[in-house]
């Protein structure tokens, strides 16, 4: 209703180009997805067979879950850069629980989720208590926990049957039930459930409302009696928690722990979250927008790989997409 009343009153004053711009900023993302799909299908017949909705969703599921974490941190006008390292840390922990300590799936997952929350504790301490600017605080923790994960493994990777760096042989194996988490359809279901739950949480619960309100005007929220610091802390706990789930999904998918495995997810996740801002003209960080943003990034990546763009050049494209998403968000904010 808001949207219609406003666009009516505006369109009287504005000319056609402005209206077109308005339309593009709202629906441009979805339009771009359709254009990309059409383009890749026409130019590359193999894309058509590979690019069914299931493959696309599977390929973006980990990015999406991590991006949802960033989205939650964005709701309080924060920014969690440490999610990539959290994913690495969670991947390392969960695989080590299997390979080094021979634990079962539930125990491995629970221990991993609990231990990674240390990152959230540090983040919220730096940001809420010490009042360090979000971006810088999480930049620091990004490096800290990248290092923690590496130190924990002794600077290497972990996989089944591989001895530890000091030569101790390992006997644990990764349970097949755990590996299922990384397979389609389960990995897609997990992602969709997370998107749905976070969507409901942000839009239909008191807590989601407060997160947005705190992000909109922190001082006004404080003077409205909202415990601002508690909600900012909550946002960082949720972003870490979601990134850790992303890391566990990653571990299940690749069946091992690799050096800095999560780092590569940071940029597409940030891009997805910011593309999500503008989808349907919501102009706020939101879960469904983030999912659509991740789809866009995923299609682009898959299509380009198929066009045999070398993997080492992909970052150029991803970086450009991020820049465009940011440009749309901030250009509109400025006016």
């Amino acid at each position: 209703m808001t949207v219609t009343t406003r666009s009516e009153s505006k369109s009287q004053k504005r000319n056609g180009t402005a209206a077109l711009l308005d339309f593009l900023s709202k629906w441009g993302t979805i339009l771009t997805i359709l254009i990309l799909l059409a383009f890749f299908s026409i130019t590359m017949p193999p894309f058509r067979s590979a690019a069914n909705i299931v493959t696309i969703l599977r390929s973006i599921s980990i990015v999406t879950v991590i991006a949802i974490g960033i989205t939650v941190s964005l709701t309080v006008d924060g920014f969690d850069l440490s999610v990539g390292s959290v994913a690495t840390f969670a991947d390392t922990l969960v695989i080590s629980m299997f390979v080094w300590y021979d634990l079962g799936t539930p125990a491995a997952i629970i221990i991993t989720l609990v231990v990674t929350l240390i990152v959230a504790v540090v983040n919220s301490f730096l940001i809420v208590k010490l009042r360090i600017f979000d971006l810088l605080a999480t930049l620091a923790t990004m490096f800290i926990f990248e290092g923690v994960a590496l130190t924990y493994t002794g600077g290497g990777s972990i996989s089944e049957g591989m001895p530890r760096l000091d030569g101790t042989p390992t006997f644990g194996d990764i349970e097949s039930g755990f590996r299922l988490i990384g397979q389609s359809p389960y990995i897609i279901v997990i992602m969709l459930v997370i998107v749905a739950v976070v969507h409901v949480f942000l839009n239909y619960t008191k807590h989601g409302r407060y997160l947005y309100v705190v992000g909109g005007n922190q001082e006004a929220a404080r003077l409205s009696g909202i415990p601002v610091n508690r909600y900012r802390t909550l946002a960082y706990f949720l972003s870490t928690f979601l990134a850790a789930i992303g890391g566990i999904m990653l571990g299940a998918r690749i069946g091992s722990s690799q050096v800095n495995a999560g780092a590569g997810f940071l940029m597409p996740a940030v891009a997805a979250a910011f593309i999500g801002y503008s989808v349907a003209g919501i102009k706020k960080p939101n879960a469904i927008g983030t999912l659509i943003g991740a789809v866009l990034v995923g299609i682009l990546e898959n299509g380009l790989i198929m066009m045999s763009v070398p993997y080492y050049s992909l970052n150029i494209v991803k970086g450009v997409v991020l820049a465009v998403a940011l440009a749309i968000t901030y250009y509109r904010k400025a006016r």
């Binding site: 409302r209 909109g216 005007n217 003077l223």
Partner: protein, 496 residues
């Protein structure tokens, strides 16, 4: 200055103002809030380029359209917020010589530190400040920062200094020292000084001539010793357009809320005791900077309480944060509405329920959107908030309607004590009237109301009893029916 006029969209801020200062004298510029002091001062500082009228300097007509013009002519303004003019992480020397460094370097690229420091030391001496010029500006006290700014003005060859409420943040001794400096500059260094202050005793102490503004016009210009404090106040108030105050006849009951010996942790409020009875509207007035806003915020837990007691119905309250205050039945409508009271990017209904969302939550803290919107619509009707629907983004509402939303938020919480801090600021006459009606209604429901405002006519119109603040504490308590605007202004200005 002759015939100076300036208009802003919708307001004529100054009309045909004549103002003159001689070098070597101290000239006071006073007026009530909104009389046009700051506007006049900003024109002198070159901040506006759309004034009409003429400005003469040594009898020659000049243009004063930009800060650079003002600087060239040797007019410098020391604004109240000294921190905005200093660069905190540069040394005192660099701050003093900033204009020189920026404007007089010419083609030279290298800074001669020795020369810079030597001249900075010289100017520091002229303002009688003993400091190492390498100290960083951020490490100085407020009083010293002011002096550094004065030194900068001297370094820029200023012949006229405009001091905007320089004494507001200073202690008694610091104020005395500043006056000493002002006299020295005027008498021995032939600098003309325009002194703006709300504190009447200071004007009588240090100034020779006074110009009084009211509603954008000069009412009088006279030698200070030809006037009494009382006359000055009369000139400042003049005859005012009488606004009507809807006075709801609320029954005043027992003491509802009490504040005992309240101190703010950093001394922004000192030793304040007051009480509010149910159904009573208690005014808190005083000049800008007297501590009204700080008092409101301290009671509400938005500023840290140093010591003191707060009692509601005789029971002590434990207020550690605004969140705690809200849960214990206290509401605050803050002064800086856009910054502190509303969420402009959110729709009206989200703004209205921001403090009472708990009441609309069911299982799993899911918000009952239907009940929430219904309540929002009721408040919109009750307060006559002009909006197409409860879904309208707040940014598209007018200032008065935004203010009503900021008030409406607290009606839903059903608090017991309502604190209003300058609720009519930036609100048109019609909306003002409605806000007064609303406050009257709250009183009729037996709530306790604290109404803080520096608009004395409002306090006279709406309050039952009023406290006057001066210098972060309560100067006196007055029965509104038995006092006058003159008396309130007398106490506000530090009279005893």
């Amino acid at each position: 200055m002759q015939n100076i006029s300036i208009e802003f969209p919708g307001v004529k801020a100054l009309t045909n103002v004549d103002f003159q200062v001689e070098s070597g004298t101290i000239h006071a510029l006073i007026g009530a809030n909104g009389a046009g002091k700051s506007t006049l001062m900003k024109i002198l500082g070159g901040a506006y380029n759309h004034y009409s009228g003429t400005i003469k300097f040594d009898g020659i007509e000049v243009e004063m359209r930009s800060p650079a013009d003002a600087k060239k002519l040797g007019v410098a303004v020391v604004y109240q917020e000294v921190d905005t003019a200093l660069i905190p992480y540069l040394s005192v020397a660099e701050n003093i010589m900033l204009d020189v460094l920026v404007n007089e370097m010419g083609k030279k690229q290298l800074v001669k530190w020795k020369d810079i420091r030597a001249s900075a030391r010289e100017y520091l001496q002229r303002v009688n400040l003993k400091l190492d010029v390498r100290t960083l500006a951020q490490d100085l006290s407020l009083a010293d920062k002011q002096r550094v700014l004065v030194a900068r003005a001297l370094a820029g060859h200023s012949r006229f200094l405009i001091l905007d409420e320089p004494t507001a943040p200073l202690s008694q001794t610091e104020t005395e020292e500043l006056f000493g400096l002002m006299r020295d500059l005027a008498q021995n260094q032939n600098v003309g000084i325009v002194f703006i202050s709300h504190r009447l005793p200071e004007i009588f102490e240090v100034c020779e001539t006074v110009t009084i503004l009211r509603d954008g016009q000069v009412v009088t210009e006279q030698p200070v010793n030809a006037l009494t404090q009382k006359q000055v106040i009369e000139y400042m108030l003049g005859r005012r357009f009488d606004e009507t105050y809807p006075k709801a006849e609320a029954e005043i009951g027992k003491t509802l809320f009490e504040v005992k010996n309240l101190y703010e942790a950093d001394g922004a409020v000192r030793d304040v005791s007051l009480y509010v009875r149910s159904g009573e509207i208690v005014g808190v007035t005083g000049l800008v900077g007297a501590g009204k806003t700080e008092l409101c915020k301290t009671i509400f837990g938005a500023l840290p309480i140093g010591s003191g007691e707060l009692l509601l119905r005789g029971r002590p309250l434990k207020i550690t944060s605004p969140n705690a205050a809200v849960r214990q039945g206290i509401a605050l409508v803050p002064e800086e509405r856009r910054k502190e009271g509303i969420f402009v990017e959110e729709p009206v209904y989200i703004n209205l329920t921001a403090s009472s969302l708990d009441d609309f939550c069911g299982t799993l803290d899911l918000v009952n959107s239907k009940a929430e919107r219904e309540t929002a619509r009721k408040v919109i009707d009750d307060l006559k908030i002009r909006t197409p629907s409860e879904n309208q983004k707040l940014a598209f509402l007018s200032g008065g309607n935004q203010q009503k939303v900021a008030v409406g938020k607290w009606l839903i919480t059903d608090a017991e004590v309502y604190i209003f801090d300058e609720p009519t600021k930036g609100v048109d006459v019609g909306a003002k009237h409605e806000i007064f009606e609303l406050i009257g209604q709250l009183a009729c429901e037996g709530k306790g109301i604290i109404y803080a405002s520096s608009e004395i006519p409002e306090i006279m119109g709406i309050s039952d009893r009023t406290y006057v603040m001066y210098d972060q504490t309560i100067a006196t308590e007055l029965q509104t029916a038995k006092t006058s605007e003159e008396e309130i202004l007398f106490f506000s200005a530090g009279g005893k």
